[in-house]
Each structure stands twice: as C-alpha cells, then as structure tokens.
C-alpha cells in the first residue's frame, strides 16, 4: 500500500492506462474506441514524464544563469513524449477521418453492426 501511495504518479498512470485499454477493447462505438485510445496514450505520457520529474527541480531551461546540473529535471522523457504526442495526434486524426468515411458507407459507427454486415454483397 505504501508503495502505491508514494508512487502516486505511476499508480495514476497505470489506472488510466487500464481505463483507456478497457474502453478501447470493450466499447462498440468507434468514437468511444478512439477516445479510449487517447486516454491510453495520455496515460503512457504521464508515466514517462513522471519518470523524468524530480520534485522541486526546474524545467531544463537556462534563465539568466546556469544553476548547476542538480537543479534541473531530466529533459529526455519530456522530449520523447513530444514525439509521442505528435504520433498520437496523427493516429487520432487518421482514425477520425476513417470514421467519417465508414459512416458515409455504412450509416453507423457501431463496429459490431459493421462487422456483422460482411458477406452481404461481396465477401
């Protein structure tokens, strides 16, 4: 229990990851699936950035004078997650565009209904 409370960033991230994963797997609605995907990605970003954060230290930007190596947080996870955010945004945009196309063809965003429709005309 103690471990969970001291590492509350990681605990929160893993719970969020679970929420996102369950939404992605269990919901039939495509829009909800995309929301779940985003929650999952955000959880990973939180987890990663928490790994680089040191309590009470500054962002690694030098203002006026260099305060020494010890007074800044680890910048690598933040830089990595910037790329991660770009990737997540691209995937979301692509998925939403596909959803619009899917809706135009099938008149629904319910994935179960769409998958059941196979075999009607061309399979």
């Amino acid at each position: 229990m103690d471990i969970i409370l001291t590492n509350y960033f990681e605990t929160g991230a893993v719970i969020l990851f679970g929420v996102g994963f369950a939404t992605l797997m269990l919901h039939r609605n495509l829009i909800k699936k995309i929301i779940g995907m985003n929650i999952m990605d955000t959880a990973i970003f939180l987890f990663f950035i928490a790994k680089g954060y040191i309590k009470g230290k500054d962002a690694p930007i030098i203002i006026n004078s260099f305060k020494g190596v010890d007074s800044y947080i680890n910048p690598i996870p933040s830089a990595l997650m910037l790329t991660g955010i770009v990737v997540a945004v691209t995937t979301t945009a692509f998925a939403l565009a596909l959803t619009i196309k899917l809706y135009n063809h099938y008149q629904t965003v319910d994935l179960e209904v769409i998958l059941r429709m196979r075999g009607e005309n061309n399979d």
Partner: protein, 485 residues
Amino acid sequence: MINYIPIINILILILFSFVMMLIKKNNIVKFISLASNVFIFLLSILLVKKVLIEEVITLSIGNPSNLLGIEFYVGKSEALVGLVFTFVMVMILWYSKFNLEKEVEENRLSFFYILINILLASLLGVIYTNDLFNSYVFIEVSTLSACGIIILKDKKENIKATVKYLIMSTIGSGLVLMAIAYIYSITGHLNISNIHEIIINNYQFHRNAVLIILGLFTVGLGIKSAVFPLHSWLPDAHSSAPTPASAALSALVIKVYVFMLMKVLFRMFSYEIVNSFIIMDIILLLGSMGMIFGSIMAIMQKELKRMVAYSSVAQMGYIVFGIGLGTISGTAIAIYHIIGHAVTKSSLFLISGLFIKKTGSKKIEDLKGIGREMPFTLGLFTLGAFSMVGIPILPGFISKWYLSLTCIEVGRVPLILIILASSLLNLLYYFPIVINGYFGNENLEGKIYKSKKIPFVRLLPIFLLVLSMIVIGGMSYNLIGLFSI
C-alpha cells in the same frame, strides 16, 4: 562513405516520396519511385558486401556518443534482411507498373508510390535502428502508411479492414510504448546495447518488471505481426488491399515487427535471461498454434487471396516457433524463414492478382483448368506452393528441416509432429489449386490452350522472385550460418 548507407537509404526514400507529391504526371511518379528503389537496392548490395567483411557497422546520428544520439546497428542479418526487402519492393513496384491501374483510380495512383516509399523507409528504419524510441516512431510510421495503401481502393470492405487494422495496431503500439517506459525507468537508457549491459547484471532484482516488459513487448509486437490469436485483422486487410499492396504487407510489413521482437528478446536481454522466464514457452505455444490453426482456417477459405493471407498467419507461426525455441540456431532459422517467406509470399500474392485479373473472379473454384489457359503462370505458382509445403531445396523445406533438427537439439522431439502436421495441412490447401488447374478432364473441358497468356515481360518480376527463392533455398547452408542477432 559506405558506413552511412543505412541512413542514406532511409533519407533517399523519404526525400523522393515528398518530391513525388509535387508531381502531377503518374508516369514520372512511377519512374521516380522505381529509380529510387533500384538505387537503394544497389546501395544495399554495397552495404552487405561491407558488412560481410567488417561483421558490424554502427553509426551514431545526432551525437557521437550513443548515450545521447540515435544509433544504427547493422550486422549481417540486418543487412541481408534489408537487401531482400528492397529487392522484393523493387519487384512489387515493377509488377504494379503494369497492373495497378485496374484496381486503383487514376487520381489516387500516385499515392501508392508515395506511400510505398515511406513504408519501405520506415521498415528499413525498424531493421537498422538500435534505439528503442526511434524504432517506436518508425513502427508508427509504417503502420500509418500500411493503412494508407490498404485504403487506396475506395470500397466498403477496404475501409472496414483499415479501421480494424488501425485499432488493433494502436493497441499494439500502446503496449510497446508502455514497455519502453518500463525499461527506461529501470535502466535509464534507450540504446539497446547500453540497456543490455545494465540489465545483464541487475535483472535478478527486477524479475517482475522484466516479466512485464517481456509480456508487453511480445503482445504488442505480436498484434502487429499477426501472431496467431491476435491475427484477426490480417485476413481482411491483406485480402482487400490492391494486389501489390497486399504482397508488400504480407511479405514485408508483418516480418519487421517480429524481427524487432527478436532484437528485444535476444540482443536487449539475452538468451540466458529470456530462457529463465515462462515467456519463451508461451511464444513457442503461440507459434505452434499459429502453424496448425492458420492452416486449418486457410483450408476453409473460398477466396484465393483470403487463403493466401491465412497462409501468412501459419507461416508467421514458423517464425515465432523458431524464436520460441530460444537457441541461437532457432533464431537463425527464424531469420532465414523471414527472408524465404518474404520472397515466396510476395510471388504468390502477385500471381493470385494475375489470376483474379484474368478470370475476373476471386473464388478458388473458378480457377479450375487455369493451367491450360495460363500454363507458365500456374507453373510459377506451383513452385511457390512447393516451397510452402516443403519440397526439398526450396526455402520452406529448409526451414522445416532445420527447425526439426533444432527441436531434437533442445530435446523437444514431440514438437516435430506439429511441424509435420502443419506441412500436411499446407498441402491440403495449396495442391487442390495446382491439381485442378493442370489435370482432370472435366476441369480442362472448353479451356483454350494459352488463351489467357500474359506476355513474358510482364511476368518477369514474378519470375525473378521465384528464381531468387530457388537461389535462397540453394544457398541455405551458407545463409543460415550468417544469421545471428
């Protein structure tokens, strides 16, 4: 200069893909795409020559120390896999020059060539890179461009297949990124070699975390490479895509992720570490299940391309089986099978595309008597089918033979039965096409000899693929000796 070939390959492909976006004429786009791919194929030959002498080339990008910069690591297996991938891609582009217009609308044609260039660049990136986060970015790029080439055909089932593929592979990449976060929090490195040095001494203190990391990587990369229970997206995506695209997807894209899994398991951890966890037995089980059930599901298919796609699930089973044995020779055979299957499956898919184009039907039952109408094309298909079933000299046989030998070596003799059963099942779905195509009086009735013949020039890319398949089979003894992770 030759040391920089890995990064030059990737940059040339991406650069020319952006040049192609600016050009309106399809013929010029085709020419640029083919020229850039042939050029990197030649560069890859130079790279292989250099690597065979020097063993390993490492290249640091961004910073001379591998602590801060991204590192490329090209050993013999990376260089050879890259060479075969570029070769297959050149042949696919050559084929699509004649055959793509029938399947894709005129105004979307140039997108295919743009996306193929980006796809090959990201695949080569995953193969060459030695940096975990860099490989994650390349994996995402390859997934998005693979989705792009499926959806080029603007039909209902293509959109459905792409959505399915995109959602499944998003789950996969989420799990991979989580695994990278775990490994970064334990070791503080992203470079695979640096992680290896740290984790080899400290893994006993983090056994649970290492198990979680192994599980996340296996499931995440397993979804993307269609390892058996996670394959549900593959048949739809690979059978509905335009033929050259499905050849590229089935022959190249799914292989890369399994190659990445090998790098993670055996280079980042080591044989010793992974064999002390239950994960290798699970991988072996997934591989065996894929070999059997992939073939059984292929037997039940009525459409040619769906059958060939399910056959890919079974063949991925062989690769995963080789990894799951957890020995150096098992890994070597897995890499050999990646190469052998890349060449075989791309030729099978391209030939299926020709059959569908000439007969106008996707169904297997309409292919009866095709051997009289297209004797040479069906002959090439037969050679590919022989390799899948495991007729000696061809790569399929070599993989099965050495896999069985490795099973005996590690003392797991009953597993040979699974390999045998899978071969027999392969026979059950490939041979009816060949036999009904060539023989049987009622099948050949009313078919005119060579009436649907395809000019030899257009068959040349497929012919070269089949020829290289035979060469890979013939050189198997030397090749397998080169492969290691």
